[in-house]
Amino acid sequence: MRSIRWLLTKDLRILMRSPLTTAVLIAYPVVVALLIGFAFSRGSDKPTVAVFNQVPADEQVQIGNQKLGTVLGQRELSDRVKVLKVSSRDEAERKVRDGDALAALVIPRDAVAKAESQLGQSQVELLVNEEDPVKGRFVDDTIASAVAAENRRLSRALIRENLQYLQLLLKGGTVNVLGNDFTVLGLRRIGAITRAAKRELPRRSAVRRQLDQVIRFNSLAQQNFDLGARALTAASEPIKVQKQIVSGTRVPLTSFAAALAVAISMMFVTVSLASGSLALERAENAFSRLVRGPVSRAGLLGEKVLLAGLAGLVVTLLMVLVLSGFVALEWDRFHLWLVALLVAGLAFGAFGTALGAVARDASAASLLAFTVLLPLVFCALVPSGVVSHWLYDLTRAVSAVFPFKPALDAVNAAFYGDGALLGPLLHLLALAGAFAIAARVAVTRFQ
């Protein structure tokens, strides 16, 4: 164990005397964290849309007694887009053309009147810049979603109003038409009146038989009015979505991006350091001198894994510290972060030593590390349904035999409580063991 300590001290001293490497190790997580942080703080997931609303600000939609605010009101739009208010159609068009806004919405003067009249459709104009198909699709989907939400809001209000009329016909009551109050008897009270009238008539009366027909019709009409009310409610939202996560992550996009950045930084720093420091022992010809007595091959590999794991832990904690200025983190889970990052670091370290043992020198080790690591990240991030079934299964299989995916799962679990932590930790430990064995076999040929 003392040998490991001396080797660790030696490697840290060499690291400190390599200013470029040290600068990269410190600057890398800080720069990545700042980039992610600034990206989050800009709220890039909401496109900027210029809105020219020709409806006067004090003119609001009212259906019956329901006050619904403005057409395409602030809430419907601002949930989905960043609203940029403009004062003319030309200005709206200019904003789109100059790239200040991804699209523009022109809301016509008669939008409120048409929405209230229930007799015509209001036509909203959408101006888009289709120079980028991806952006164009994004705008189409976002605006279509906002308009659908507005239509749903208005149709619910209309249905609520119509339901009130149905209830009036069913239960009776007072209705105001053009300032005059009228009393509506209602089917239930008609039923009660007809049943009372029937009881007053002789049993064999012809009028009594006719009243029976009226009573039956009234009963049938009441039942159908109840059904009609339920049908109208259903018609306001024929399909309702109930989301249930059966696999994958439930963390918000920004948090997932932070976890992803942490896992990627940890991987690059740890794997590069482990593979590079092992390759350096060969480059300095020190390997044979070390393993002939003072340190066993396994001990030397263990030291490299530990060095890389600890360095990865420090670097990613530094990164998390910077990220905490932008993303809300649960500091009471800090002990779980430490466990997840340390175990992930050890697994990446073992993977790095295996790469370093395969490579002939330090530069080949670095090249090999970067060549292997990028595809691993892509494999781990391929979502289901976008590639063929067999290819998706292949990416999952590849991701399972390398530490990146379980490290990402462990970070998500430790930082956000997304899923159990134990599973990814055991997975990482198993991979650490497997790669350590592979590295030990590979260094047998070292002399």
């Binding site: 003392r2 001293r13 005397r17």
Partner: protein, 235 residues
Amino acid sequence: MRTDGPPLLQAVELRKSYGGREALRGVSFEAREGELVACIGPNGAGKTTLLTILANIQAPDSGTLSAAGTMGWVPQQPALYGKLTVSENLRLFARLDRVEDVEEAVARMLAQSGLEDRADEQVARLSGGNRQRVNVAIGLLGAPAVLLLDEPSTALDPRQRERLWEFIGALATQGTTVVYSTHVVSEAERHASRVLVLADGERLFWGTPAELEETVSSDGDFEGAFVAFLRQRGH
């Protein structure tokens, strides 16, 4: 140079193969206290394989190896950390070798290698000759009974080579047994008490340089005799 007394190092019938290729074919030899043994032979003869087996870097497939006392190892290329200073390198390997008094050993090696004034200089800034002196000094940190050197004079200029051999000769005089490989045949003649000639992993000769010269009738120098000997033995 001594060739009497009990052997400090004894190798018997050492064999080693890599895949289907035999690198050592039953090589035997011995070295006594204070003796300088040179291992010479053409490229690929098995010199480095033999020395790495003696140094316990790799195990033989068969054969026995016995050594009375510790063995120091000096690889062909300086095995040093360029970013560490001379004294930091010495201190690191002294600690790893579990030398009892680390600071005393470092001071002794700095004095013995004549590098006291360069102790705080990074190894990467030293000349090839000085680097090799540090390389040898590390091999001597544990005051080994036997010192194994793999082509120690490679990449040194004649003056540096001369100083290195003075250093090694002084060690032998103090009782350290030295086994070294070299492709500079004259270094075997000048410094070794006995030579081990290897070719294709096979021991072709074991004896003094004079005895080697006697086995062939050559009018030239030792190198000429060596070449004639190899030719005579089909190499």
